[in-house]
């Protein structure tokens, strides 16, 4: 295996914050002596990325995602820790390093607002010194994959969000950077626009072996694009591994929904089937959740159909949104100082917020 494209070790970023006491007296007190505090936004984060890898960097609001990205792109200097991206220390060699990266902040645009999109591309071409031939060829590819050709003559302010994002993505790849940072690239986009963006990213990653770090709240982005996720909360890495592994570890549940021709006598709330209990969803419809570590869904289904006249049956897994939101909740509960520690039984597969499990 070659050198990692990105190596992050024990990265820490703390911010100085002024604490303000509430009310008028607090405001007055603050005039004379402001109480200072520190906020740890990123807390000993470590990970490595191999060249060509596409990693999802996820976490709830305020988890430290953007702060990490800002340090990796050289905008922010860490409090401590080491980062090496493509052999650069980002914040120390900002301008030289900037030639090798592409950055998309979904909430902002790098295009000039009031002039035709193509003028921004011309400017970027000069900034990165892209040759005329390369420019023509790449613009053709962008048009093929993102259909931006007809947008080029329009000012950015007239574009829809999806159109603007397609242009921004193309702009970030005009110089074919080996490393690409995407911060919420699908925010606010409709289904079609999202699909376009994802297909484009997949293609760029495949064709140019671009290493991609993607932060997003949309876990479908991750499911479709990333083999691997790094999940952080309160500045700490809670999980680094595959999405499937994350699900298996935290919510290893199979959900079996079945319909009976008519409600059993008494229309009971619970149906006991062997060692399991199915809950009633509506008259005649039941749901049985099974811990996959204890039994396979096949065994459970056999047991259900053996004793009941089942009409229809469906098996599903908790979707990734649910898994992740459970992790956030559990982590929040753990961090409350006076809260009792969640018991093993109540929270299967709970991740200690100190150690990182890899899957």
């Amino acid at each position: 295996m070659s050198d990692p494209a990105v190596r992050v070790r024990d990265l820490v970023k703390t911010f100085e914050v002024t604490k303000k006491a509430p009310g008028l007296s607090g405001a007055l007190k603050g005039l004379f002596r402001a109480e200072r505090g520190t906020l740890t936004a990123v807390d000993r984060v470590s990970f490595e990325l191999v060249r060509g890898e596409m990693v999802g960097y996820i976490g709830p609001n305020g988890a430290g995602k953007s702060t990490t990205i800002k340090m990796l792109t050289g905008i922010l200097t860490p409090t401590s820790g080491e980062v090496s991206c493509l052999g650069f220390v980002p914040w120390r060699e900002r301008r030289a390093y900037a030639r090798s990266i592409g950055v998309v902040f979904g909430q902002r645009t790098q295009l000039w607002w009031d002039i035709a999109v193509v003028e921004s591309f011309q400017l970027l071409r000069e900034i990165y010194g892209v040759s005329g031939a390369d420019y023509e060829r790449r613009m053709k590819v962008f048009d093929d994959l993102l259909e931006i050709g007809r947008l080029l003559s329009q000012p950015v302010r007239k574009l829809s969000l999806g159109e603007r994002m397609r242009c921004d993505l193309a702009a970030s790849l005009l110089h074919e950077p080996p490393l690409l940072f995407l911060d919420e690239p699908t925010i606010g986009l409709d289904v079609v626009a999202k699909a376009n963006v994802r297909a484009f990213l997949k293609e760029a990653n495949r064709r140019l072996s671009t290493t991609v770090i993607l932060t997003t709240h949309d876990l479908d982005d991750i499911e479709e694009l990333c083999e691997r996720v790094v999940l952080i909360d309160h500045g700490q890495v809670l999980w680094d591994g595959s999405l499937r592994g994350l699900r298996d570890e935290h919510l290893p549940e199979a959900r079996i929904r079945f319909d009976l021709p008519q409600p059993p006598p008494g229309d009971p709330q619970d149906l006991v089937i062997g060692p399991w209990t199915a809950g009633r969803l509506s008259p005649g419809r039941y749901l049985l959740a099974v811990d996959k570590r204890e039994a396979s869904s096949a065994d459970v289904i056999r047991e259900i159909v053996r004793g009941l006249p089942v009409l229809d049956l469906a098996v599903s897994e908790p979707d990734i949104e649910e898994v992740v939101s459970r992790i956030y909740r559990e982590n929040a509960a753990l961090r409350k100082p006076d809260a009792p520690p969640p018991s093993e039984g109540a929270a299967p597969g709970f991740v200690s917020h100190r150690g990182v499990r890899r899957g």
Partner: protein, 273 residues
């Protein structure tokens, strides 16, 4: 040389893009032509009244009335060329965190900002300064430049004024970020610059002690220096010395801007803007 040309290309592109960007707002500029004309007109009548009081052929502060009118006209025409809002721009970019988009690009922020200011000035020259100049010359008895050399030196001095204003505004913007009211600082700046540059009142009218201080400050090089060159009040060695000082101030303020930017960049890097 080729390396230098390659390094300059992105900044030429910034100037060009800035030019195009303003072109998108050209309607706003047609009104601006009239604003400048009115400003010059107001001063024309004020000075005419003052000179009228003194009688035919009188001088004020060493200026005859036609000279005074010309000083005012060349001053306002020049202001229409060198004016920019680099200060407000850089300050709001830092405040709103928009500068992040620039910081991830391989560009020098000061050079980029000044290129954009010059691109704006190029636009202003065509759509602003030339029509205003023409209008003033047609309507009022503005004196022609004292000599062909005076015209050439005036143009050079005007270009230096634009650089000077760009350099000053970059510094002012970075200082304004540190205060709670960016707009307040900028408003104060306009007042100070318009008075001290000689735009409102020729520097020759200031009391001796004030003038003694002013020659050691950069501001009079914005208007007074080019104005005096046009009128032939500074020629030969005097003109050369004035231009040299003007250029020295440009360099000094660019260096000051770099220092301020370093400090600002460090704050952004540590506090995130």
């Amino acid at each position: 040389m080729t390396a230098l040309a390659a390094a300059a290309r992105p900044y030429l592109a910034f100037a060009r893009t800035s030019f195009l960007n303003i072109l998108a707002y050209r309607a706003r500029y047609f009104v601006g032509v009239l604003t400048y004309f009115f400003n010059a007109t107001v001063w024309y009548y004020i000075w005419r009244a003052l000179f009228h009081e003194k009688g035919e052929g009188a001088t004020l502060g060493g200026f005859t009335f036609p000279q005074m009118l010309t000083y005012v006209a060349t001053g306002w025409a020049l202001r229409s060329f060198y004016f920019n809002e680099v200060d407000r721009d850089i300050a709001s970019q830092v405040r709103e965190g928009r500068l992040a988009m620039t910081l991830v690009k391989p560009v020098d922020v000061q050079a980029m900002t000044l290129s954009q200011a010059l691109g704006e000035s190029a636009f202003r020259l065509v759509l602003f300064t030339l029509p205003i100049g023409l209008l003033l010359v047609v309507v009022y008895p503005v004196l022609p430049p004292a000599s062909p050399a005076a015209l050439a030196l005036y143009l050079l001095s005007g270009l230096l004024s634009a650089l000077l204003v760009g350099a000053i505004n970059f510094c002012v913007g970075l200082v304004a970020i540190r205060t709670t009211s960016i707009l307040g600082v900028l408003r104060a700046k306009y007042l100070v610059l318009e008075v001290l540059s000689g735009l409102l009142v020729p520097v020759a009218f200031f009391p001796e002690p004030v003038r003694k201080v002013l020659v050691w400050l950069p501001f009079l090089h914005m208007n007074d220096t080019p104005g005096r060159i046009w009128l032939g009040l500074a020629t030969g060695a005097d003109a050369a010395r004035a231009l040299g000082l003007q250029a020295a101030w440009v360099v000094a303020l660019l260096l000051l801007g770099r220092l301020l930017w370093k400090a600002t960049a460090r704050r952004i890097e540590v506090q995130g803007g």
